[in-house]
């Protein structure tokens, strides 16, 4: 049995909606079979008004033990450090976050917003939004670089916009089952078991990437090719299991012909969505991708590319995902 309190700061509720898509376990299994006790959740909680406030104050004071504090959404610090852009239960939400993070055994950030600010923190960051322990890639965020929860852990980040339901449920189950020691985190506090691999790992277009064959148009154009060359796909530079653990049990963005936006990385949305950057690969000298796959460089990339194109078999220039 583990108690969970889930609150939303500067949030869209997308991670909650994603969570509700879960199967094995689904949200009902988590509670009925795995013994997660959801003390309150904005979409699921029974209590309102004073009754809800009492749960929060009891958790903050320690009167009610809080095993896992989950935050979805940014911590809003504006205007001028007051936090009044986000009032919750009669106080700035950031005050609740401070107290509850200090009281909880384990603190989990779900989704980019809570991890590092996400879209609300995009330039010009109108609400002074930040993540729990990171601001974009910089460690610190709202709770500070040195924060550790009562269990001695930093904030566990489950990024994504939204996070995949399985990433959420499996980590919650692991925490509730006492497997905390098995959750190895990377330098961005992401569980490595999910975020060591690339979005490209398992992508159905990887053979086209191998031979440098580009998708040249959307729609029927995505029956062939790789989206990295023209449409700004970040699959080779983004760490996620999106093509290992499929979305809604069916597909992934890249499988469906949509370029990966890199939403499990702190820089999302990349280049702050500046004119000319959306769904377009940024290039140098008109042909070479400005960003090349992680761990390589332009010279190596070009050499590999030239060889790959020579080696490209005829099928790699034809439609593969046919009717």
């Amino acid at each position: 049995m583990a108690s969970v309190l889930w609150l939303q700061g500067g949030a869209c509720s997308g991670n909650t909606m994603s969570f509700l898509n879960a199967e094995e376990p689904n949200v009902v299994d988590l509670i009925v079979d795995f013994g997660l006790e959801v003390l309150w959740h904005p979409s699921l909680g029974m209590e309102l008004g004073n009754q809800a406030q009492k749960i929060f104050t009891d958790c903050a004071s320690g009167a009610k033990p809080l095993d896992i504090f989950v935050l979805e959404g940014t911590v809003i610090e504006g205007p001028a450090g007051t936090g009044r852009f986000d009032m919750f239960a009669d106080r700035p939400m950031k005050e609740w976050v401070s107290e509850l993070a200090a009281a909880a055994s384990i603190v989990v950030a779900i989704g980019d917003c809570a991890c590092w600010g996400g879209i609300p923190a995009t330039d010009p960051n109108p609400t002074d939004s930040t993540g729990l322990q990171f601001h974009k890639r910089k460690k610190g965020g709202f709770l500070g670089a040195d924060f550790v929860s009562k269990a001695g852990l930093p904030v566990i980040n489950i990024p994504g916009c939204p996070a995949h339901p399985d990433w959420i449920t499996q980590i919650l189950v692991a925490l509730a089952a006492g497997r905390t020691a098995d959750i190895a985190l990377d330098e961005l506090h992401r569980p490595q078991t999910f975020f060591k691999t690339f979005t490209q790992t398992g992508c159905t277009r990887v053979q086209f990437f191998e031979y440098k064959q580009a998708t040249l148009s959307f729609g029927e154009g995505t029956r062939t090719g790789c989206l990295f060359y023209e449409f700004g796909c970040r699959g080779p530079m983004t760490h996620s299991p999106c093509n290992r653990i499929l979305w809604n049990r069916q597909s992934s963005k890249t499988r469906a012909g949509m370029p990966c936006l890199g939403c499990t990385e702190p820089e999302f949305p990349f280049m702050d969505l500046a004119p000319g950057t959306v769904f377009k690969t940024q290039k140098v000298s008109g042909v070479i991708p400005r960003e090349v796959p992680e761990g390589t460089d332009h010279v190596t990339y070009m050499a590999h590319s030239a060889a790959a194109r020579v080696a490209a078999p005829q099928w790699s220039k034809e439609d593969m995902f046919v009717v």
């Binding site: 939303q8 199967e23 009925v32 979409s43 029974m46 010009p124 979305w247 469906a256 936006l261």
Partner: protein
């Protein structure tokens, strides 16, 4: 007379954080104030960005209706760039948008709304034990499958969009994907399963065509008693329980409605324009105010900030809107109390009035005269409106009525996809243009206004269904739709005012949606605001 001022913060399960303050006179709500307590400033983020940034950013305004945000932002660009949209792309956009709503119908009903039906305030009802058995959170016999099966329709969304929530696969000129045969056949299979297991098996207790035969309120009552299966279905039980505990008696609201419509007939909208929009819609647009129907015209939409945390108080069309946020602590001194603005519509001959958005608005609009052959033409809810008036129950039934209807439409659209034909026409990315895109999210009318200048966004504005419904008083002191709907609600227990929850939740508002749906002319204002904050 006993007057009580009751402040409820937070009022949960409305998707986002809502605060409600009501005055109660002798056990009945006499006035109400609704407060949206959060601001994120999306419009400022969009300003100066890539014209297509809205396809990525606006779905993240609201994770509940992100697909609806994507749908209307794609059409805003289609109209601004004067694109060609192949028929297949229109069909897939329709399918995806409708599947998001099919997800929302059971998820909202069981996870957010029906829990209140198990409140101890209704323990005296002879049907109470049955309500608890069905709807109790997590353990209810209907709650479990209802919530779990709600994830099925969005599996179909993922088939075409890669994932739900938060795909950006609809782009000006069409969609990014080109399905193979298996994506279409699996979609059919998933929907069939969902229909058998939940829509017919659990919710209706009959075939969807039998339900859709209902044309009047008497038909609905006769349907309940027609056989045991329908009588004992969740829908049959819900109607009986509502009538027993009086959910047909309060939550009336303003009684005036707005639908901007959604889903396009492919051959009528392959060159999307603002002017051609109404005629191409399948789910019709329209306004119903004080008993009169009129055509929807986006130029008649304005927003008022008299009681919202922004400077100024005038009525401005979104294309001319100014948003100038102020510290809520300062706003409170001027009587302002919400981050939501108050959208108003200039009804011909009636002036600017608040209108309710949502499924009931759509259902009433569907009964307007003059439907074309391709358009939804359904008299049921206008009949119910005239016979028993709007209420918590009627609003809820309107939402649920769309399940069978949309299911049939999606199946038809899936059948119409021509797999060998085109799904995208590359658009000319014009340096400048103005666009308007709109749809019906599960919870009501959702619209974008975009202005593109010099290859970037000069202004971007979103008006959400939640803003329509949850907005505060306007400059004339006229209450917003939910505020008005709260008036007259009986409060049995002030320590646990479940009736407030029922009324507010019957609108299925997402506060996360409301509070950042403002225009883009604020780029220079926050610094001024910070100065104010320091004073």
């Amino acid at each position: 007379m006993t007057t009580v001022d009751l402040h409820v913060s937070p009022l949960g399960r409305v998707e986002g954080d809502l605060d409600v303050r009501v005055t109660i006179d002798d056990g009945v709500v006499s006035s109400a104030w609704t407060t949206a307590g959060m601001f994120r400033g999306f419009e400022m983020i969009l300003r100066g960005k890539d014209p297509q940034a809205g396809l990525i950013v606006t779905p993240r305004i609201c994770g509940i209706c992100g697909g609806s945000h994507l749908y209307k932002s794609a059409y805003a660009l289609d109209t601004a760039w004067r694109t060609h949209v192949p028929h297949n792309a229109t069909l897939i956009r329709n399918i995806a948008q409708a599947c998001e709503t099919l997800q929302s119908i059971p998820r909202y009903f069981y996870a957010l709304f029906a829990i209140d039906l198990t409140n101890k305030n209704y323990a005296n009802s002879p049907l109470y034990a049955e309500a608890v058995r069905r709807f109790a959170p997590y353990v209810g016999e209907s709650y479990q499958p209802g919530v779990v099966l709600s994830s099925k329709p969005v599996e179909v969304y993922a088939m075409f969009g890669g994932q739900w929530p938060h795909s950006s696969f609809m782009v000006p000129g069409g969609v990014m994907s080109a399905p193979t045969l298996a994506e279409v056949t699996r979609s059919v299979a998933i929907l069939e399963h969902w229909k058998d297991e939940w829509l017919e098996g659990q919710w209706l207790g009959c075939e969807i065509d039998r339900w859709l035969e209902n044309r009047t309120w008497e038909d609905v009552l006769a349907w309940v008693d027609e056989n045991e299966s329908q009588h004992d279905s969740d829908c049959g039980f819900f109607i009986r329980y509502c009538l027993d505990i009086g959910l047909d008696k309060f939550g009336r609201g303003v009684g005036n409605y707005l639908a901007t419509g959604t889903y396009f007939q492919p051959e009528l909208y392959d060159h999307p324009t603002i002017e051609g929009r109404n005629a191409a819609l399948i789910n019709r647009s329209g306004v119903f105010a004080n008993g009169q129907f009129s055509d929807f015209d986006h130029l008649r939409v304005s927003e008022d900030t008299a009681h919202s945390f922004y400077k100024g108080s005038g009525l401005l069309h979104p294309w001319e809107g100014v948003t100038d946020p102020i510290d809520p602590a300062d706003g409170a001194k001027e009587g302002k109390y919400s981050w939501a603005k108050s959208p108003r519509y200039d009804v011909p001959g009636q002036g600017y009035i608040p209108l309710e958005a949502g499924p009931l608005a759509r259902r009433i609009t569907a009964a307007a005269p003059g439907a074309a052959a391709h358009q939804d033409d359904d008299p049921l809810f206008l009949d119910i409106y005239h016979k028993i008036g709007p209420s918590v129950m009627v609003r809820q039934l309107a939402r649920m009525h769309e399940g069978p209807k949309y299911y049939k439409w999606v199946r038809g659209w899936l059948d119409a996809i021509q797999l060998q034909e085109s799904f995208h026409s590359k658009p000319v990315e014009h340096e400048s243009g103005k666009g308007f895109g709109s749809t019906e999210a599960a919870r009501g009318s959702l619209s974008d206004w975009i202005v593109i200048e010099n290859g970037k966004i000069a202004n971007y504005q979103v008006v959400t269904p939640t803003a329509w419904n949850i907005g505060p008083r306007d400059g004339d002191g006229t209450l917003g739709p939910i505020e008005q709907a709260l008036v007259g609600a009986p409060i049995a227990d002030q320590e646990d005012p479940v009736e407030l929850g029922l009324v507010a939740r019957s609108f299925d508002s997402c506060l996360v949606c409301t509070v950042h749906a403002y225009d883009g002319k604020t780029g220079q204002e926050l610094s001024r605001f910070v100065v104010n904050g320091n004073i």
